[in-house]
Subunit: 358 residues, 2 copies
């Protein structure tokens, strides 16, 4: 029962515009240090799993940049989706590839564009998740103990204890709830619900059996793809069959409908790096609460994120701002409005004038 890790590179991250673009998605950006989010994700699992057992699922338009960022990952371990068909198809493809190599494997599925503060804590939880998965037919999801009643999160209602695995208590999952309203979120926090960061572990035979049962229209074509994996026909088969798959999420397609779901409540510090405000919140700060990239000189400047690129940024008497200065666009945004960058980008998409910036 070898352990594999699949890293699914999805999402364009429009809320991190103008740094993230359709051609330069969030996971390829070094938003929290010198390494990109996907590089950090690989770095984080490397102490547990060798590169040959790390698999990347990505879409075609970024695959060259991604390979350049991850030279240690074997070329055959980068699977390119010919089109996007949602997270169920992407994770199903990963499970199919892993099962082809090792039908008795356990696998973890991670997103490429999240951040973890405590890498050791993350690995300890992942080792426990592997142990739960190995013990039977559980679909395991890591649960994050909430640090706030965040309304943008998916929540997990935690049920009966299953047992202790590698020092971690595993529980049954009662149900998943997507993005609650504020009052509900506050009640969830009081009731011990955990956030669902979408980090999973399971035996590949177990997850593929669930695909066969719950998503047969995905399972069928992927079984066909499986026959060509590792052959000269692999990409041709993907191009022919993948577009036939229905677009579905792993959450709705499998997890919310499966019976034996386990969770390991954890506290290793996780972020979806979902907005400039989130980057400001989780990054190391100077004495005035500022997060600075590039040259900056300020007077009376606090709690502000400054992302320069080449030329210096000067600030005076400002607080709670996000300033992203790029060669072709400047964004100045109040941190409390950072979630609305997505809305700004949607409005820009409606005007041909800005096409070159998206």
């Amino acid at each position: 029962m070898s352990e594999y890790v699949a890293i699914v590179a999805g999402g364009s991250g429009t809320r991190l515009w103008p740094l993230s673009r359709s051609t330069r998605p969030k996971q390829l950006l070094p938003l929290l240090g010198d390494r990109s989010l996907i590089q950090s994700t690989v770095d984080r699992v490397r102490p547990l799993v060798p590169p040959e057992r790390i698999l990347i699922v990505t879409e075609a338009s970024h695959s060259d940049d991604l390979r350049a960022q991850l030279p240690e990952i074997p070329a055959e371990n980068v699977l390119v989706e010919p089109v996007r068909r949602g997270t169920a198809a992407a994770i199903g493809l990963a499970a199919t590839w892993i099962a082809h190599h090792d039908p008795s494997a356990v696998m973890a599925s991670l997103w490429s564009d999240a951040a973890v503060m405590d890498d050791d804590g993350f690995r300890a939880a992942l080792v426990a998740a592997f142990a739960v998965a190995r013990s039977g037919d559980w679909l395991v999801t890591l649960g994050m103990r909430p640090t706030s009643p965040h309304t943008g999160m998916g929540y997990i209602q935690v049920g009966l204890e299953i047992g202790t695995f590698e020092g971690h208590l595993a529980h049954q999952v009662v149900r998943f709830v997507e993005k609650p309203d504020r009052a509900t979120a506050e009640q969830f926090v009081r009731d011990g619900y955990v956030w669902n960061p979408g980090m999973f572990a399971w035996r590949v035979d177990v997850i593929l059996a669930e695909f066969a049962r719950l998503l047969p229209t995905i399972y069928g074509p992927l079984s066909e793809v499986s026959k060509s994996l590792g052959t000269a026909q692999q990409n041709q088969a993907l191009r022919a069959l993948y577009p036939l798959l229905p677009t579905e999420t792993i959450d709705y397609g499998i997890l919310e409908r499966a019976d034996r779901i386990a969770t390991i409540p954890s506290s290793f510090g996780w972020s979806d790096v979902g907005s400039w405000a989130e980057i400001l919140a989780i990054s190391p700060k100077d004495d005035h609460g500022n997060v600075v990239r590039g040259q900056h000189f300020g007077l009376e400047t606090s709690d502000t994120l400054i992302h320069g690129s080449g030329k210096p940024v000067f600030t005076l008497g400002v607080e709670d701002l996000v300033i992203v200065d790029l060669p072709d666009a400047l964004l100045v945004c109040h941190r409390d409005h950072a979630e609305r960058v997505k809305q700004l980008v949607e409005q820009l998409q409606a005007d041909a004038r800005w096409a070159g910036l998206l």
Copy 2:
């Protein structure tokens, strides 16, 4: 008694950094439209005075740019100070040059870097000031009726009426007061004091007599310079004699010490264009109170000045900001802190790293 206008181009305008630089002073910048402040100043007096009777006093480092901006001004009407010696010397030089051409002239002295909202009202007041000056030995200063108890202004205490000139009441000046504190400024406004924008009119023989009496160390060398004006020795004489002059202001050196000062209280809308906040205050605005130069797209953006240069600026959830985006520097400043740009620049001057930006 021909009328002349001297426009004195002084001051570096560090409070409008990063647009204004030591090599690109405020008066040469088109801060309020397509014409620079000095071009607008010339445009404003042209209906009253032909170019041959408009004189510019400037310092050497900007004289080429200035000539290029003002092709209608004859070359011999641009006097270049070899060094800066304050406003008394500059205005004394102008009076000397005008007296050399026409000893019976009346002259006005204006700064090159102020703005006027109502050009017709300004010209009407200037015509009245010329009339007061022509009537005798008054030193006339235009007074601006205050629109606020501004603490950054010089104030004039208005005294007895002298008479009505070209429809304008002229008054004696009781005294000048520099930059009062807030409570004093409020009292001044209640007591009918006016602001002193430094716009003067007088007969050249009258002002030169005051120089001889009050500033003989300026009058003496300028009398020597006068002998060479219009000859091949003019610039050589200026270079030899001008550095000998003491540095003094016209306000302290002459006006505060002279006896017969008149003022014409006026309301033509005047601004010293002294800060980015002032530009925001006096410029035409869009429906959200924003002043925009260049490409801009914003959501929930109000009362903000955006000065772009080439690339677009995007704003979200911000108010009361000044954003000046130039190819080599970006400034983001709260409008209430705009006066402190000067202080920011002073701090930058202490660090060799920023030398190229000043």
